[in-house]
């Protein structure tokens, strides 16, 4: 059985990629996918520790995260479609009408 550090390391790498994606990319769909990557990195850490400590609660928490992620996807994609309908673009840098 692999030690838990491997899993945590993978989770950290995935999380970093996700965070960098959110911060660097301008396409909102890609940003969205990066957010999913971060969530799943967290999920991986959850199940890894759940198995390591034999605590079922970590695994259950993953289901919650997945449910929330699904809901988020539904809302987020709807928003992106609505934004595309009005702006003909999904570039986040152009969504600056709230500039103070």
């Amino acid at each position: 059985m692999l030690p838990v550090a491997y899993y945590v390391g993978l989770s950290a790498i995935l999380f970093t990629i996700g965070a960098l994606g959110v911060l660097i990319r301008r396409n909102s769909i890609v940003i969205f996918m990066s957010v999913e990557l971060m969530l799943n990195a967290a999920n991986l850490a959850f199940v890894a520790f759940a198995r390591a400590y034999e605590a079922i609660s970590g695994q259950i928490f993953v289901f919650f995260v997945m449910t929330v992620a699904a809901a988020e996807v539904a809302v987020g994609l709807a928003l992106i479609v609505a934004i595309f309908n009005t702006k003909q673009s999904i570039d986040v840098d152009q969504m600056n009408s709230m500039k103070g």
């Binding site: 911060l23 301008r26 986040v92 840098d93 600056n96």
Partner: protein, 717 residues
């Protein structure tokens, strides 16, 4: 309580007692609401029926009292409850209050019926038939207020009735408010009555407040129960209560020094003079003292004061009555004098005698006033007749308008023209003069007998008053009814219809037979009142002794009859024999009254009522008016308004507003508000730069924030 007693004896109608107030109220409301459509006859019938039904209730109460002479208190409403002050509207049914109810409702009913006829003529003579309804509304209101007064079980509710009858008196004296001297004479008379009564009422209020201070209650029963103990603890308090109460009595019952309103009150229509200013309202003071008997017997000083006030008033007013020419003024002064008799009686502790005289006086004085009203109407009809007869009109001196139908100098020989009125007047006059066996003789004699025992000084005053009473009544009867007519209207006076004469005949019968109520030796009335006016045996031995109980004092009775006969004979001598010879003198030189020739200035003094009105005007009224004027013009106008308000307040206010506006408002409040505004604007200008609109920079700041927080959590813990 009384359910168990009902089984013991006699029928029970005590629960009916609130109706004695509410039936007249219903009557007056009916007349207010529907009277305009009903017409004179129905208005009069409703008002009379209301008074009559009250009388029926009073009779039922009397019947109930025969079985239960101790009476009862019928609770009705809670009126005021503040802390320990508790005032209820409860009805006191006992022998004393029921006597008053019977008199008020009984005499009141007769006067209501009489007023239907009288006011029909009166409103016609005064050109305002629409006032007919108003008159009966006031009359019913008076009955209701008077019933509240006599049926109350505490001093405060009694005071409500006391003020109520004062109001009705005011309204009815000023009934023809646009008439009288200079068009305001009647209004002034009404005002005088009201204000004079207010002086007395002030005394009543002081008495009531002192009473509450000492007794902590207003209820008769509780006050009287505590009275003996309080009298030993605070004798001065009881003295104050009784003397202040006496002040109230002098106002309402027209005693010295507050009697001056009653003669002027004759400005009201004659039924009013009969009902309010002779038979009922003015006796409220006598009732009050009789009701407060347990207090008065505790303070001999107060008793003596009351008796002396009554005695002096009796003589004082009787002498004035001798020299009056207005038929109603004579009766008014006579009323004051007779009220003096009653007050003297209750002052001496002869409560039964005082109440007995109250009842008989109600009969014969109501009779006399109503009969005088009948004479006045007859004279007005005669005047009317003369005015419409060109041949006779020439003889009318001074034109049509100057004629005064109330001046006895214009009368004479009315006997043959108004037979019924003459006979009833004669009965009333003899009853008042104290000729046996008419009612006045018995009651007056009882008072004289008591006075003879207790206060010889007052006895002499009262006997002299009785002499003058006989004299002025003889004078009046002779001047009005005997001799030859002195004016054409008197020669053509007409008798009135039965609606006026029938009540007179009933009252005449009562005046003749009223003495049967309390014959010496039998004392029906005395025993009847004994149940209510219970004086402690020990006290009674000192101050109170129902003298007449011991027997009939023949010396006193004989001398009073003798004095009355002398008075009448003297009157006959002057006003029948002398008068006839006076008539033969030439018109310019002859004095209008035989006594004027004999007494000269004394007669003028009496005719002008000892100039008491003028004295009051000089001593009280004028200084008061000057003081008011000084206060109004100098203190209020010049000092307070012109200087203090317009100068001091105005200027200091201006200075103050300027300071507030410039220094405080502009300098501080505005500056603070503006400063706050500027500060937030500056801050907002800085903060808005943070909102770049760049989503990724937001994300970066969130990321950095999370890293920092996590870093803090990891490193610091």
């Amino acid at each position: 309580m009384f359910l168990s007693e009902a089984a013991s004896s006699g029928p029970q109608f005590f629960y009916l007692v609130p109706w004695i107030v509410f039936i007249p109220v219903i009557g007056l409301l009916t007349n207010i609401l529907f009277g305009a459509r009903l017409g004179e006859k129905a208005i009069g019938a409703i008002a009379s029926a209301a008074a009559g039904l009250s009388f029926v209730v009073a009779v039922l109460l009397m019947v109930s009292l025969m079985g239960h002479p101790e009476g009862t208190v019928v609770p009705f409403l809670d009126w005021i409850t503040i802390g320990e002050l508790q005032i209820d509207w409860a009805f006191q049914v006992d022998t004393l209050s029921v006597v008053m109810m019977l008199v008020v409702a009984g005499v009141g009913t007769l006067i209501h019926i009489y007023a239907i006829g009288y006011m029909h003529e009166d409103v016609r003579h005064n050109d305002d038939p629409r006032r007919f309804r108003r008159f009966f509304v006031y009359l019913n209101l008076f009955i209701a207020a008077m019933m509240i007064l006599v049926s109350s079980d505490n001093y405060m509710m009694l005071f409500v009735g006391w003020e109520g009858v004062g109001l009705c008196s005011y309204l009815l004296i000023g009934f023809w408010f646009e008439k009288g001297e200079k068009g305001i004479g009647n209004a002034l008379a009404a005002k005088k009555a009201f204000i004079t009564n207010r002086v007395g009422d002030f005394g009543f209020i002081l008495a009531a407040l002192t009473m509450f201070g000492v007794f902590r209650t207003f209820r008769f029963e509780e006050v009287f129960a505590q009275a003996p103990d309080v009298a030993t603890a605070f004798p001065l308090a009881i003295l104050m209560i009784t003397l202040f109460m006496l002040l109230g009595v002098t106002g309402k019952s027209a005693q010295l020094p507050l009697y001056v309103w009653l003669p002027d009150a004759m400005a009201g229509p004659t039924p009013v003079s009969a009902l309010i200013h002779a038979a009922t309202m003015v006796t409220a003071g006598v009732y009050l003292i009789a009701r407060s008997a347990p207090l008065y017997v505790l303070v001999p000083t107060a008793q003596a004061t009351v008796a002396w006030v009554g005695g002096i008033t009796a003589l004082f007013a009787a002498t004035i009555a001798v020299a009056q020419f207005d038929i109603k003024k004579v009766l008014a002064y006579s009323t004051i004098s007779q009220l003096g008799f009653m007050v003297a009686a209750v002052g001496m502790g002869a409560f039964t005698a005082g109440m007995f005289h109250l009842v008989t006086h109600a009969f014969f004085k109501a009779l006399l006033f109503l009969a005088a009203g009948s004479v006045i109407l007859g004279m007005e009809k005669g005047h009317h007749h003369v005015e419409h007869d060109p041949a006779l009109k020439k003889k009318l001196k001074g034109g049509g308008h100057a004629f005064d139908p109330q001046d006895m100098r214009n009368m004479g020989g009315v006997r043959t023209r108004m037979k019924t009125t003459f006979w009833v007047y004669l009965i009333g006059a003899m009853a008042l003069a104290g000729i046996p066996p008419l009612a006045g003789f018995w009651s007056k004699d009882e008072i004289l007998a008591e006075a003879n025992l207790f206060l010889p000084g007052v006895y002499i005053l009262l006997t002299l008053a009785a002499f003058f009473t006989a004299f002025y009544m003889g004078r009046q009867v002779l001047m009005v009814f005997f001799g030859t007519p002195r004016t054409e209207p008197a020669a053509h006076a007409e008798e009135n219809p039965p609606i006026i004469t029938v009540p007179l005949i009933i009252l005449a019968a009562l005046s003749a037979l009223g003495g049967l109520l309390n014959l010496p030796g039998i004392h029906t009335f005395g025993h009847w009142l004994e149940h209510t006016i219970k004086i402690e045996e020990a006290v009674q031995a000192i101050h109170v002794g129902e003298a007449a109980e011991s027997g009939f004092n023949f010396v006193v009775a004989g001398s009073s009859v003798l004095i009355a006969l002398i008075g009448v004979t003297l009157a006959w001598f002057f006003y029948s024999r002398r008068y006839r010879t006076l008539q033969e003198m030439p018109a310019g030189k002859r004095p209008d009254d035989p006594l004027r020739a004999l007494l000269g200035p004394v007669f003028t003094l009496l005719e002008n009522k000892y100039w008491v009105d003028e004295l009051y005007r000089a001593v009280i009224l004028n200084p008061y008016v000057s003081l008011s004027r000084f206060l109004a013009e100098t203190i209020d106008g010049r000092f307070w308004h012109d200087w203090f308000h317009d100068r001091v307040l105005y200027n200091s206010y201006q200075v103050l507003t300027r300071v507030l506006a410039v220094q405080v408002d502009l300098g501080f409040i505005d500056a603070t508000a503006n400063g706050l505004g500027k500060a937030s604007q500056w801050l907002a200008g800085r903060l808005r730069l943070l909102q770049s609109g760049n989503v990724r920079s937001y994300a970066l700041s969130v990321f950095i924030g999370v890293v920092l927080i996590l870093g803090y959590l990891l490193i610091m813990r």
